[in-house]
């Protein structure tokens, strides 16, 4: 209950507005002896208490809707979604607590999020190291000694991170520990040295362990001074809460657009053959940054709900109108950090050189540290310290561009506006043109930064811009015109800030009252519109491609597919699976101890000097992906079989990769074993005494590796050979071939060697050129594989047949691709079992996936695959004849199955 104190002060606001400040300050100041006003206030306090509860409910409901949205669209990791639920409960309790209890409660909640995500023991480890570092900052010794002590500890931690020695239990925690302390400790020490902010145990713990940091190795670099200055810095918390909700929603929209780009628009560098592809590559690569801006908006929005009224982290960075403007709009917290810790101190030290010289020195040093600290960040998150030519050119280039811009602005100034002033038409046109020029330059630099290859390869790659037809040129002009218009209209909007400093009593209100209900209503409607748009996409005035893309946006594509894309700096830092499997498992509800490659178990056998590179070791029994995997004496994941086909046996050989091998399912749960069992149950003893299905599938096998397995399979005298196809396209073939060619391993098929030589593909080819040429040659190579196999099969009287398999996260675009592959197979003269829609019966695709983020079918998925394959087999006249199933009988069986 607020305390009413009798102190002289002028009331300049309506009572209700004034009372809003009661929530955050627990005190109202009145004029002495103003009894009438006191009575009015007491009545109003009661009313405001009820109104506050209604507003609290409204904010909580919006947050609940956002959590539901995150769950429905599978946004971010499972761990983050759990923390969001914790945050919702925490938000309500936090708001109802007295002011002086709120910060300790936030700390407890943040520590609770550590326990929730990384488990209690790991949480203790984090707090232990963090506590030691924070404690060292406050030791009662000279600041220099404290710095030395912290430096020594940081050096020891660096050695442990570099695995010079082992710090038991910290392997999984390095990215989180790094994200909490690698930069914030620097800022903290800076502010401690200059005493620019208040310090206390609760403030320190809140700053370093703040919720939801544990879910994000890439975290906004929150400034300690700002963190404290903006804490409940408005008279009313409602605007702050509502802005927080708005930013969480904005972040989720960024993540959805990111997913749309990732699933529908992005292409690998080796696909680029003309100007249209190149422009698409450049824009989509830059657009992947939406992942970071989306995450940062959500994080800062969430912090708003706990009173941290922090400013925006990103502001319309696609509409930057100069390089300094870009620097001020993208990852603004980083810019603020560099300015505070490097730029300003250097500038003030050398300002005697004159403004231009000081600016030059300070800017170049600031960008040098930006470059260095990006590698430093990489080190703490991923464990290595990369120094690449791409980084040097990107940061160096950006430094020069920003410097030129800075010197220009220093000399000629930059037009500024106080709200309400309008630009002239000419000024808007200029703004639009500058937006286009800045965007083109930035995406070019960004493309260089993320490019995997040498400088000369990049130049060759960029020469694709000369291969432009009229249609592409028109599209580019239209796109840039649209960007220019957007820049002209919206490019000069200012960064959304917190309310700034605390309004002083008696001061005129800086802003009109915040329209809370209007904002809450708009945001609620917008949140609800997202699933509605996706659900009712058929009624939207958009083309089929857009509808397909909207349908697919509900699910995140599996990490296996994502890993095949080109990765950039930020992609690599956010994809925890690629550098810290244990952390990824914690984030994604995985049972501990899973291994993601059969090669990490005894059942995997690497043969790096052989064409097929990898095989299964014979006679092994291991735990893989939480399931039992056994190999027979021939190195198949299958039961044991004689090599020579026994009399009276109908034998099928299955060539495939992980889905057919079985991934995260036990030996007797693979669709291949289930089909074999079912065929024997229904048809053994008819045409054949027994039916055997031999599983030659090996996880990760590409087309040529399956071809190698085909030669092995022939030794087992099969009657039918089944060739698995799934939606990885030709990527695995390209990966495998480029790897063996570069390793100098001879391709064991003379005709294929000729095809490669004709294209000039050899061990000396540059990586990108080779991949690009292989990509173009891939359909021809696939056609050759099938015709070669068909010839060999025909000689032996074997039927060769293709099986089209879906993944659990199969998307409509993948189904289109699978349909193309099915057509291709039919045109090659191969019959097809098309199981692409086998999972259509599942209410929710997640129920057939082996785990979140892993699209391999689980037990239920394999059961559905087996059923679909069996049905297609018995419906096929050739199979009916082979199995001894008369057509009516098979039909009856088919009917009974249904």
């Amino acid at each position: 209950m607020p305390v009413i104190r009798r102190r002289p002060v002028a009331l300049w606001q309506p009572v209700e507005n004034h009372l809003m400040s009661v929530d955050s300050r627990d005190a109202v100041y009145l004029k002495e002896d103003d009894a009438a006003l006191l009575a009015r206030l007491q009545g109003a306090i009661q009313w405001a208490g009820q109104a506050a509860l209604v507003r609290l409910t409204a904010v909580a409901l919006q947050l609940g809707l956002l959590i539901a949205l995150a769950h429905v669209f599978e946004l971010e990791t499972f761990a983050f979604r759990k923390v969001m639920v914790l945050a919702l409960a925490g938000f309500v309790v936090h708001h109802l607590l007295p002011m002086n209890w709120r910060l300790p409660f936030f700390v407890i909640l943040s520590l609770g999020s550590l326990v929730l995500v990384v488990m209690p023991l790991n949480a203790i480890r984090l707090v232990l190291v963090g506590g030691i570092l924070i404690g060292m900052c406050h030791l009662p010794i000279r600041f220099g000694w404290r710095l030395a002590l912290i430096g020594g500890t940081a050096a020891a931690l660096t050695l442990a991170r570099a695995q010079v020695f082992d710090l038991p239990g910290y392997g999984v925690l390095w990215p989180i520990l790094g994200s909490m302390f690698m930069f914030r400790l620097i800022v903290y020490l800076y502010d401690l040295r200059n005493q620019t902010a208040p310090f206390s145990v609760w403030r320190s713990l809140a700053y370093f362990f703040m919720l939801p940091n544990v879910c994000f190795p890439m975290y906004p670099l929150v400034d300690y001074q700002t963190f404290n200055r903006t804490y409940f810095n408005e008279p009313s918390p409602w605007r702050m809460y509502q802005v927080g909700i708005k930013w969480i929603f904005r972040g989720m929209l960024h993540l959805l657009v990111y997913r749309l780009v990732l699933q529908n628009a992005i292409i690998g560098a080796d696909y680029v053959v003309d100007a249209g592809d190149l422009v698409r590559y450049m824009i989509t690569t830059f657009s992947l940054y939406l992942l970071i801006s989306g995450q940062f908006h959500m994080i800062i929005g969430l912090l708003h709900l706990f009173g941290f009224n922090l400013p925006e982290t990103h502001h319309n960075y696609f509409l930057s109108s100069s390089f300094t403007d870009f620097w001020r709009r993208i990852n603004i917290y980083w810019k603020d950090f560099i300015q505070k810790v490097f730029f300003n101190p250097v500038y003030f030290r050398v300002k005697h050189l004159g403004p231009a010289a000081a600016m030059t020195v300070a800017t170049l040093i600031a960008f040098f540290f930006t470059w260095l600290l990006h590698s430093y960040q990489w080190f703490w998150i991923r464990g290595t310290f990369p120094m690449t030519w791409q980084d040097a050119v990107f940061w160096g280039g950006l430094a020069v561009l920003v410097l030129v811009n800075v010197l220009y602005e220093q000399r000629y100034g930059r037009s500024r506006l106080i709200k309400g002033k309008k630009r002239s038409f000419a000024s808007r046109v200029g703004l639009g043109l500058r937006t286009v020029a800045t965007f083109c330059t930035i995406v070019t630099l960004w493309c260089l930064w993320t490019f995997q290859g040498s400088a000369s390869e990049w130049l060759d790659f960029m020469s694709n811009i000369t291969r432009m037809d009229g249609k592409t040129a028109l599209m580019i002009v239209c796109g840039l015109t649209g960007l220019g218009i957007a820049g002209a209209l919206f490019g000069d909007s200012e960064r959304e800030y917190s309310a700034g400093q605390k309004p002083k009593l008696g001061q005129r209100a800086a802003e009109p009252p915040y329209a809370f209900w209007q904002s809450a209503a708009i945001v609620t409607v917008l949140i609800l519109m997202v699933p509605a748009i996706v659900k009712y996409r058929e009624y939207l005035p958009v083309g089929p491609m857009a509808r397909t893309a909207l349908g697919d946006v509900r699910r995140e594509q599996s990490v296996h597919v994502r890993a095949e894309r080109d990765q950039g700096y930020y992609e690599d830092l956010t994809n925890t699976k690629s550098y810290n499997l244990a952390l990824w498992e914690l984030y994604n509800r995985r049972p501990a101890g899973w291994v993601l490659s059969i090669g990490q178990t005894e059942a995997g056998k690497s043969v790096p000097h052989e064409f097929h590179q990898f095989e299964l070791a014979p006679s092994k029994r291991v735990q893989f992906m939480g399931a039992e995997v056994s190999t027979n004496r021939w190195g198949m994941r299958d039961r044991d079989y004689e090599k020579a086909k026994p009399p009276g046996v109908f034998r099928v050989a299955l060539l495939g990769s992980s889905i057919s091998m079985g991934w995260g399912v036990n030996d007797d749960e693979t669709y291949e074993n289930l089909v074999e069992q079912r065929l024997n149950q229904d048809f053994a003893g008819k045409s054949h005494e027994r039916i055997e299905v031999l599983n030659f599938a090996v996880a990760g096998y590409s087309a040529f590796q399956k071809l190698w397995a085909f030669d092995r399979a022939l030794e087992f005298e099969p009657d039918v050979i089944l060739w698995e196809v799934h939606a990885t396209g030709f990527t695995w073939m390209v990966n495998h071939l480029s790897r063996v060619i570069r390793a100098g391993i001879e391709v064991p098929y003379p005709e294929v060697r000729e095809m490669l030589e004709d294209k000039g593909i050899n061990a000396r080819s540059s990586g990108l050129a080779m991949r690009s040429q292989l990509r173009q040659l891939a359909p021809e190579l696939q056609g050759w594989i099938w015709s070669h196999m068909k010839r060999e099969c025909d000689k032996r009287g074997i039927t060769l047949q293709v099986v089209i398999l879906p993944r659990a996260d199969q998307m409509r675009v993948d189904e289109e691709h699978l349909a193309e592959m099915a057509d291709f197979a039919r045109r090659s003269g191969l019959p097809v079992f098309d199981l692409a829609k086998a999972f259509r019966g599942a209410q929710d695709r997640r129920t057939v996936a082996v785990a979140p983020g892993d699209a391999h079918p689980n037990v239920e998925g394999h059961r559905m695959l087996a059923e679909a394959l069996y049905e297609q087999m018995i419906a096929s006249p050739e199979w009916q004849a082979a199995l001894g199933a008369s057509s009516p009988a098979a039909t009856a069986l088919h009917d009974s199955n249904r």
């Binding site: 200059n194 620019t196 220093q410 106080i418 002033k421």
Partner: protein, 85 residues
């Protein structure tokens, strides 16, 4: 004295960063940094002006939103520097 400081600084800001702007729009509590009127370069220009105009020395960590966000803040900073000697 603070009013004189504010007036001097206000004239400078209007002249340097807001040419053509209505002086009444720039109030003592108008947010300069958080309101987007002073960016990092303009802030450094303002610091150079304050040092020269008032004969004071401003440290790197003082060139921030806490000390320079409004005319009131700037006047307080100048006053504290002058008082401190």
């Amino acid at each position: 004295m603070p009013d004189e400081t504010k007036s001097t600084v206000k004239d400078f800001i209007l002249r340097e960063f807001l040419p053509g702007e209505d002086p009444n729009e720039l109030q003592d509590d108008t947010p300069l940094i958080t309101g987007g009127i002073l960016d990092s370069i303009a802030t450094l220009k303002l610091v150079a002006f304050l040092e020269e105009q008032f004969g004071i020395s401003i440290a790197a960590h003082e060139a921030d939103v806490d000390h320079l966000n409004t005319l009131n803040d700037i006047a307080a900073l100048v006053a504290s520097k002058r008082k401190g000697g």
